[in-house]
Symmetry: C2
Subunit: 160 residues, 2 copies
DNA sequence: TCTATTATGGATAAAAGATATCCACTATCT
DNA sequence: AGATAGTGGATATCTTTTATCCATAATAGA
């Protein structure tokens, strides 16, 4: 019952791309240096975000990654889903049947238990669906005007 | 973002103890055989449930484990907490500071993000607090009368 | 069209956490 | 005192996550 650290990495990536000057892709090397992970590993994370539909990749010279949609239309849950998938948090391994036998009441119990946890998970997801990247950024910087910059032009030493 | 399989094991254990004749402890060997795990491993799980306050251990001859409270006063969340702990599902590893520098806005962002996820987790926990072991059992067996038995007297072959 | 640049994908290694077991020890009941 | 049952430490195994390298594919620009 932990989110993987990939979620924090993804959050940083999305924040960078959300504050990136429009139409200028950020290269994965720039991001990997800033996050302190290897270029090749970072690309795996980027790929998950591409597959998840949060960002787009631009190959070739002056390529890199850009947001696939506006920060206003990216709920936080999408970020979690992209990195972790959205499988049920609980799925029976068949233990109940092993312990109590392959009988109706056991089967019903398994389904009921899975259902209870699923509903809790849905409540969790609903909360993270209500918060968008834009709202999160605006509340963090205390203004509705999100400044953009070109991260490709900023060295690792300069901060902010 | 997965519950460990220990939760399913714990659920089976609590169901057994909830249908156990009052004041007759069930030995861990009986439970371990039924769940198909080694006696020593099962005892680790039992211990977590003891520490979590769900069950009580009775050492010595004719000892074993009994529920520490009625099924009506055990919410499902207690079971999850006992096995998994109840740490925040998301905690920053310090990556944000590394990426964006040790500045106020970064610090604020980390706190805000942790907060968002914490609230989602609370929604999850609230759902699992509303369902008790008793309610779960009653809805599973379709009656309010929960039959008790002595699991120590039932071989692994007999089912239910 | 050629070349430099950038992302993609497969193979694989290292680290961490979950799962599992053994055994020596302690506590209790009869 | 002796048998029974839980406790706790050490440790092994498995799975997942984290991470890296390198060969390949795709694109932009000269």
């Amino acid at each position: 019952m932990k989110l993987t650290s990939g979620v924090e990495q993804a959050a940083c990536i999305i924040v960078m791309l959300s504050t990136q000057a429009a139409d200028i892709p950020v290269t994965s090397d720039v991001i990997s240096e800033r996050l302190g992970v290897s270029p090749s590993y970072l690309k795996k994370i980027m790929r998950k975000l591409v597959v998840g539909g949060l960002i787009k990749s631009v190959p070739g010279v002056n390529g890199g990654f850009i947001l696939a949609k506006t920060p206003a239309s990216i709920p936080i849950i999408d970020l979690v889903d992209a990195i972790e998938g959205n499988e049920p948090i609980f799925q029976s391994t068949g233990l109940v049947r092993k312990a109590f036998g392959d009988i109706d009441v056991a089967e019903k119990g398994v389904l009921k238990f899975e259902n209870i946890v699923n509903e809790a998970q849905e409540a969790f997801r609903a909360k993270l669906s209500n918060m968008t990247v834009e709202k999160f950024l605006q509340e963090t910087i205390d203004t509705n005007e999100i400044q953009v910059k070109d991260w490709n032009q900023i060295s690792d030493e300069d901060n902010d």
